[in-house]
Amino acid sequence: MAQIFHRSTNTISRATIFGGVFVACFAFWVALKIELSPFSTYAGVARPQPVPFSHQHHVSGLGIDCRYCHTSVETSSFAGIPPTKTCMNCHSQIWTKAPMLEPVRESFRTDRSLVWARVNDLPDFVYFNHSIHINKGVGCNTCHGPVDRMPFMYNYASLRMGWCLECHRAPEKSLRPREQVFNMRYQQPTPNSPVALDNRVFSDQLSLGLYLVKKYKLRTKADITSCSTCHR
């Protein structure tokens, strides 16, 4: 019986088999890249907001403390998003005619809330708590990035679980003295710019971090990487 397939089909079939593996791997790699890219995580992507509020202007320009608006950050899981009243504390006095602020005035007038687009948004099965992070010496900009240089708010990090765990597995790499938590321009200690704390001088982050882990009684790494720490 004559051969049904030409000899060249052998090559084609080999190529297809190996090529298939390659294509599958490639597809997986592409999917992974997309998944981890800002396309999926929104990292670094500014959201359109009803009022073009600038953190840059209010924080570094005017020097307003984070807690002026995010009032419950030290006591609650949720940092709090300011009610219109907070805006109007100042804007009933200044920029009272600015067209840009009309939605704020309207909200105050009509008693209807402003609807902002949420920027740092965790999945619903993650239970993050601001207060404990603040109390253990995790700075605002450690997670939120240079908010004082963000004219439009975007999330700085990917907010993926791997990113959370980076710090939960090695908190000493990120901790800072509690007094510096709200300092947007805080620099980790280097030999050139050491950080003084409790009559001691730390010239590198690791020694400071390890000192703070003890001082702030951080739970062990096994504790803070237990699933139920964040998932309930």
Partner: protein
């Protein structure tokens, strides 16, 4: 000895099984329980010492299967008709898409701040408000958790002098009623929606014209009212319209109790028991250890406080006509038909009076019981108490009063006070009067404030027919639901839920609680206070003005604001508790006992343990709550004792026709161990026609047989077996744990004497700690951690009231699944209360055992999970990670306690907006294909841990409570840090009666049990126990 019954009889049983196998292939016999066979098998072989259902007792194959399976048969099968082709399509599609599931892009979400944030509101932290939940006029003080203005959980008010932190299942579940989408949402006239202004217009005219007649044509019908404000409003109204009448109707009323007090003392009094002072408690058909009984939360606590075998224990005798949870807790239980209890009471009374007594309808066995009981009572003068049930006739109450008086118990173990209810008129007579007035055309305006008399009025009144007729020109109904009564009224006004309105109420001891609203009325409902203000004043007033105004009038001092604020904060008003009244027994003897025919069948009507008189028909949490003794959900079969079922030739799920005084009803049968012979019990509240989407059409309307003359029991019932069977969804026997006979039983108990001889009896076969070669977390020592969470459940204290199940359901966003799914064993309760029976089928002893996740240190579920979705935390908790779970169900297959629940379908309602508001924001709402189980309320642990770390103080013992523990009225559940030797839980775990369930499997469970110790009367012991 009880526990060492060897495996020998079991072997005999197994051989028998094998020889029977060929017979059992016969399809006719398959899968059905034949009671004749059961009895034969029982005669020949011994089943397990403790059994959960009659099937288990008989060692049926069906039951054996149930033990071997992780879920009951049918739970894990795809049951909807799907063709092979369709199945393959689905499989192909799911394979192709399997990898894509992780690639969902998170949707963009808005975030909405306040315009002006209310003071004290901290987003992310709940607030608690003190309030009260009222049922039958009795208030249960509560604290309501509010998350950003949404009430999400009801807790007991631990600081309240009455409840001290406990609640009942009804109070817990009332939260679901608030968010029930089937609640009435508008005012309607003949079914069509109308605005409030139209109602006012239509209402004011006729009201004004009644003014001239002094209100002669006005009738107001309410349920039992104990609210002081409301009583005042009603009196004001009656002053304004002197000829108007106020009627009270309550289907599950306390008429007999008031009539009994009237008979004994010449006045309607409330009896308050002080069970913590009682050494001997006698219940004459009183189910005082079950939710719904006035003062239940306090009674359960006081009863349990005297069940510590290391201190002085009380002794409970229960003589009852239905198997109840109170009977299950009894040290001595005597099943007896309801009519005979009066004879028993007479006998007891004459025995106490050292009179031989001629009233001897009792059998020799019952007479022995009575004389032993009388001796025990005589030995405990001043420290005993006799409680008569509300379903017993007034004479029994009067006898109980007389006996308590003669035993010197008054002032010691019980006190008499004014009645909590504002009106003690006989509920049935009151409604009868109203019906006859309507028939005579004397009623121009009928105002029904709450309740559902068209459904639950005595059948012989024909209340629904009377309403339907055109004799009353204006009928108005105020209610939470568009129910059977609303349908027959012209106007229906949607009522505000108690969590939406101001009000007040009295606890069983008279203490007043202010009811404060947690949320603005979801559907603009009107409260009964606002309605009454309209009725008496003619003008609109807010509930706040009415209630506060009333209390302002009661308080003469200038510091009213302080008093008011304190009352709102504490949850009760100081100095409102009733003071005991001194009473004198009326001279003269009590009426002669009524004769009964012991061979005729007696029917007992009882409020349903879950949905009460039908008012909670549309509450799915309560509908799906397994009833304490039968574990029945969603239905009300009649309960028949095994011996009687044999005689009638009926078995569970058979349909029978009941006939009583010309009325008939077809109902299914449930064979209930412990039901007295020749009696049947049927629960009220089912067979609703207009309850809502949840409650309509479930069960059978037993009110159709309930007549005004026979409210609670009657003889002369005819039972006829009819063809057909009816599916009943009982969880009895589902999730049964496997304890081979010869191994130590799952529930461990003994009596006080034996316990004193051998206190360690429960720890027999307890494994030596740390027997494993493969530690869960290598190098990890739980005992070195600051916290290691554990739980101890005192079987002696648990009364099987089911409150913990609803508390858990509410706290942890647990879905309900419906009757059909329960039948397939797919119910989702994280916590179940197992009921075990022991002894004779007709006179069993019964035990309750709540089973949450054991949080095994050496958890069998963890090692089999292929994706690490269930793993250990450093504090020893067995964490469940929903977002990792892929639904292999290996874990539940490997769980010896069968506490894992799987979302076979998407049981959660994601669409209904009301339910979104109800859920606990700190617990993930699970979806289909995810395993779940008790987490020890990990969200509460996390919150307390964070708060403790922030303030750098350790979590104090007792500060962190799980939902089940918080609401347990008898404090049976204790949770805490076992690494703290001074914590309550650590102390309990050191007691000799502490044992672990299936501990021999070396699972090292963190939840352990304190064995049950009964305190039988030595004189009765021989005759009762084998």
């Amino acid at each position: 000895m009880l526990f060492t019954r060897s495996g020998e009889p079991r072997k005999q049983k197994k051989m028998e099984d094998r020889s029977k196998k060929s017979e059992e292939i016969c399809p006719g016999k398959k899968g059905k329980l034949d009671l004749v066979t059961v009895r034969q098998q029982l005669d020949q072989a011994h089943g397990p010492e403790y059994w959960r259902s009659l099937e288990e007792l008989a060692g049926s194959r069906e039951f054996r299967e149930m033990i071997d399976r992780e879920f009951p048969k049918g739970a894990s099968e795809w049951l909807d008709g799907v063709s092979r082709r369709g199945f393959l399509k689905l499989m192909g599609a799911s394979l192709a898409l399997a990898g894509m599931t992780a690639c969902t892009k998170q949707p963009l979400e808005p975030i909405v701040p306040y315009v002006k944030q209310p003071e004290e509101f901290v987003p992310g932290r709940p607030l608690f408000y003190a309030s009260a939940f009222s049922m039958r006029g009795y208030a249960t003080p509560i604290l309501v958790e509010s998350n950003l203005g949404r009430p999400t959980k009801i807790e007991g008010n631990a600081q309240h002098p009455v409840s001290r932190g406990g609640t009942d299942a009804f109070a817990q579940a009332s939260l679901l009623d608030l968010y029930d989408p089937d609640r009435s949402q508008t005012i309607t006239y003949l079914g069509a929606p109308y605005p409030w202004s139209s109602f006012l217009e239509a209402f004011r005219g006729p009201l004004a014209s009644q003014k001239a007649l002094a209100g002669a044509g006005i009738r107001v019908l309410t349920q039992t009212i104990a609210s002081p404000t409301l009583a005042d409003q009603l009196q004001a109204f009656l002053k304004l319209y002197p000829s108007a009448r106020w009627h009270v109707y309550e289907p599950v009323n306390r008429d007999n109790a008031y009539a009994g007090a009237q008979m004994a003392f010449g006045q309607s009094l409330e009896t308050q028991y002080k069970l913590d002072q009682a050494d001997v408690i006698v219940s004459l058909d009183a189910d005082f250890l079950a939710g719904g009984y006035p003062g239940f939360t306090r009674y359960a606590r006081d009863y349990a406080s005297r069940r510590d075998p290391d201190k002085s224990m009380n002794r409970l005798y229960v003589i009852e006509s239905t198997m109840t949870s109170t009977g299950a807790k009894a040290d001595h239980r005597l099943p007896m038909r309801a009519a005979k209890i009066e004879w028993f009471a007479h006998t007891l009374s004459s025995l106490l009076a050292a009179d031989t007594g001629a009233r001897t309808q009792l059998t020799p066995e019952e007479a022995t019981f009575a004389s032993a009981l009388a001796e025990d009572l005589k030995a405990h003068r001043g420290s005993s108490v006799i409680i008569a049930g509300d379903n017993q006739p007034p004479a029994v109450h009067a006898l109980a009063h007389a006996m308590n008086q003669s035993l010197g118990n008054v002032g010691q173990t019980l006190v008499y006070t004014d009645s909590v209810s504002a009106s003690t008129v006989n509920s049935t007579d009151s409604l009868r009067e109203l019906v006859s007035d309507i028939r005579r055309g004397q009623v121009d305006m009928l105002i029904i404030l709450g309740g559902n008399p068209a459904y639950d009025a005595p059948a012989d009144f024909g209340f629904a027919e009377v309403l339907k007729s055109t004799r009353v020109p204006l009928r108005i109904h105020l209610g939470l639901y568009q129910n059977e009564t609303a349908e027959l009224c012209h106007w229906h006004v949607n009522e505000a839920h108690y969590l939406e309105a101001w009000g007040d109420g009295r606890a069983f001891d008279g203490t007043v609680s202010i009811v404060q609203p947690l949320i603005a009325p979801l559907y603009n409902g009107k409260s009964i206070y606002e309605f009454m203000a309209l009725l008496s004043g003619g003008s609109e007033a807010s509930g706040y003005e009415v209630v506060k105004g009333y209390w302002q009038k009661q308080h003469s001092g200038a510091d009213f604001d302080l008093v008011w604020r304190r009352a709102l904060h504490d949850g009760w008003i100081r100095d409102t508790t009733f003071s005991p009244k001194s009473v004198k027994l009326k001279a003269g003897s009590f009426p002669e006992t009524t004769a009964f025919n012991p061979t005729s069948i007696e029917i007992n009507f009882r409020p349903d343990p879950s949905i009460w008189d039908g008012r909670f028909s549309n509450n799915a949490w309560l509908q799906e709550l397994p009833k304490p003794m039968s574990k029945m959900t969603w239905d009300n079969p009649i309960y028949i004792g095994p011996a009687m079922a044999d005689r009638l030739g009926v078995k569970t799920k058979d349909l029978v026709e009941l006939e009583l005084e010309g009325k008939s009803l077809q109902v299914p049968v449930w064979v209930q161990a412990g039901q007295p012979d020749n009696t049947v019990t049927v629960f009220l509240g089912y067979g609703r026609k207009r309850a809502g989407r949840t409650g309509t059409g479930f069960g059978f309307d037993s009110y159709q047989l309930r007549m005004s003359a026979i409210q609670w029991f009657a003889s002369g019932l005819n039972i006829q077996k009819v063809s057909g069977a009816y599916e009943l969804a009982s969880t009895q026997g589902m999730q049964s744990m496997d304890a081979e006979i010869g191994r130590r039983p799952l529930v461990r108990e003994t009596n006080l004497d034996k316990y004193r001889e051998e206190p360690n009896f429960a720890q027999e076969q307890e494994p030596i700690p740390d027997q494993t070669l493969y530690p869960v977390l290598p190098g990890w020592d739980y005992s070195q951690q600051p916290y290691a969470w554990g739980m101890a459940i005192d079987l002696n204290a648990c009364t099987g009231c089911n409150n913990c199940i609803v508390a858990c359901q509410s706290e942890n966003n647990i879905a309900v699944v419906g009757k059909d799914q329960v039948n397939r064993g797919r119910h989702m309760h994280w916590l179940r209360v197992d009921t075990y029976y022991q002894g004779e089928r007709d006179k069993p002893r019964a035990f309750f055992q709540p089973v949450p996740c054991m949080q095994c240190e050496n958890a069998p579920c963890e090692v089999v999970c292929p994706v690490g979705a269930t793993v250990h935390s450093t504090e020893g908790l067995n964490d469940m990670v929903y977002n990792r779970c892929v639904g292999t169900r290996y874990c539940s297959n490997n769980c010896p306690y069968k506490v894992r629940r799987f979302n076979f379908l998407r049981f959660q309602d994601w669409e209904t907006p009301q339910f979104k508001m109800m859920r606990n924001p700190n617990v993930t709402v699970r979806s289909r294909g995810v395993m779940e189980k008790c987490t020890y309320c990990i969200q509460r642990i996390a919150q307390h841990r964070i708060d403790a770390e922030r303030t750098d103080t350790p979590i104090k013992d007792g500060e962190l409570q799980t939902a089940c523990q918080q609401s347990c009225p008898s404090e049976a559940i204790v949770f805490g840090n076992i690494n703290d030797p001074n914590s309550k839980v650590a102390k309990l775990k050191r007691l000799p009666r502490n044992y672990s369930l299936l501990g021999e499997l070396n699972t090292r469970p963190r939840t352990t049990y304190l064995a049950e110790i009964r305190n039988p009367n030595p004189r009765l012991k021989q005759s009762e126990q084998s």
